[in-house]
Symmetry: C2
Subunit: 251 residues, 2 copies
DNA sequence: CGACACTTTGAAGACGATCAACGCCGGTGG
DNA sequence: CCACCGGCGTTGATCGTCTTCAAAGTGTCG
């Protein structure tokens, strides 16, 4: 993938598949390129929803302050991903999260109604949206399941492996693309816990020194991401790390 | 709402709004009524996906066995809700969860392709689906956030309040519609923890004796469901129960 | 060099899971 | 009719994990 997604490259996103070149051109003409400096916000929790975004470059942190006054990062989005589509179709009027540039960020910004109109006009576009949102929904369900059932070691291992795959890094050695503080917040754990957990992972084939990560042995990372994680098919992370293979049934 | 949803009542579901009566009739003709006895499965994890379901009566438990050999209930669906739409549009070929009748259950069953074809043919139907799936996605995100940040007392309180609203019960006194074992599994906690938590909730205005629940004071339950829970707008549950109102920021 | 953001490490405490025992209830069968 | 059993839920004691508070280390940038 190129450094920054140009409008031409945007056309190759799954979101636009099944449309003619001409249709794509017309659709993309409604969008405007916009830059955000590191730390700038795209929008805040409570702001009225105005735009749908496609990230062309950089990293956007989505987070929410919960009633206790703490922040929970709900997602970290990168190049090629989108922002706001579920909020737009769920017909809530205001944003439910804060969106802040964790990097310098480039997005293409489309009016909210454009998204709905385009879905109405082009059934292919609507089906692409259904597919993308369904995927998001399933990932969120799996996330909830993980949070409810996995230890911090399992959460961290799973996250690191997914980062590696998503960014197409070499498992044998890569740099963490986000700060540890951000990752801890994303995983819903304290920075201290995250830091301690990283040391423990060394016993399980994941070595982290500073920002450098190496995933060892185990014959290919794909086998290590949870089957339910939807990134890869087969997985052993959960068993490998700390499961005692209880046979107890909950129901 | 009537005891069991008839095909005529199904037409009033949000899913079919914006369609003409004639279109609804044609669409619904593709469906077949089907009964499941308590304990029967609609499908199992790994089964090929064949149908889209609308629940006309009863309760369906969706759950998954995770690698450690334990079961986690991912959702409990009731009359008027649907099953399988995200799996169908996410283009996975096999079911990702088990679906079992927790009651005697009546569903209307539609071929998988019917759902995709209908979305392609009727843009109103596609938009209804987008809206429903987006709502699911947001609820799942909130669920994940809750699992990551809330204590078991908060989780239980939030769940009970949502049950009360969803089933349109009288907050001053109602019976739990599910077994405690099922609820505990749904909340990702052990039955013992759930049981102990119920006692603690008495101090916070929620009294549970056996299956009988009463939600006291607090001027209307709606104010008690988390703002992010999307069932109601304003909420204080999180603060009310155990938050120390830390000002610490994660990021 | 010093300020500051980010991270690590230590020690104490809170919370939930686990193991174990028991109470309750409905059904079955002698 | 009573005894037994299984499913379900409660209660107690213990243990491991994660959070919390505190302090110190590392790095960058002016």
């Amino acid at each position: 993938m190129p450094k920054t997604l140009s409008p031409d490259i945007l056309k190759t996103l799954p979101l636009f598949s099944g449309l003619t070149e001409q249709e794509k051109d017309i659709l993309l003409k409604a969008g405007h390129i916009r830059h955000f400096m590191k730390g700038e916000h795209l929008f805040l929790h409570g702001d009225p929803i105005r735009y749908f975004y496609i990230i062309c470059n950089g990293t956007v942190q989505l987070f929410r302050e919960n009633p206790g006054g703490r922040e929970k990062t709900t997602d970290v989005r990168i190049k090629g991903q989108t922002i706001s589509k579920t909020e737009i179709f769920d017909a809530v009027r205001v944003h439910q999260v804060n969106a802040i540039a964790a990097d310098d960020v480039v997005v293409m910004e489309f009016p909210m109604v454009w998204l709905k109109e385009s879905a109405k006009k082009h059934s292919a576009f609507a089906l692409n949206l259904l597919s993308a949102i369904s995927r998001n929904a399933r990932e969120a369900e799996i996330e909830a399941e993980h949070q409810a059932t996995m230890s911090s070691a399992q959460l961290v291992a799973c996250f690191i492996q997914r980062v590696c795959i998503l960014h197409d890094f070499n498992p044998c050695g890569f740099e963490l693309p986000y700060s540890k503080t951000l990752i801890a917040s994303r995983l819903g754990m304290e920075l201290e816990t995250f830091s301690r957990t990283l040391s423990k992972l060394k016993e399980h084939g994941i070595t982290v020194n500073g920002t450098h990560v190496a995933i060892h042995d185990l014959g290919g990372i794909d086998r290590y991401v949870c089957a339910n994680c939807s990134v890869a098919e087969d997985c052993q992370t959960h068993q490998v790390i700390g499961e005692k293979a209880t046979t107890r049934r909950n129901v």
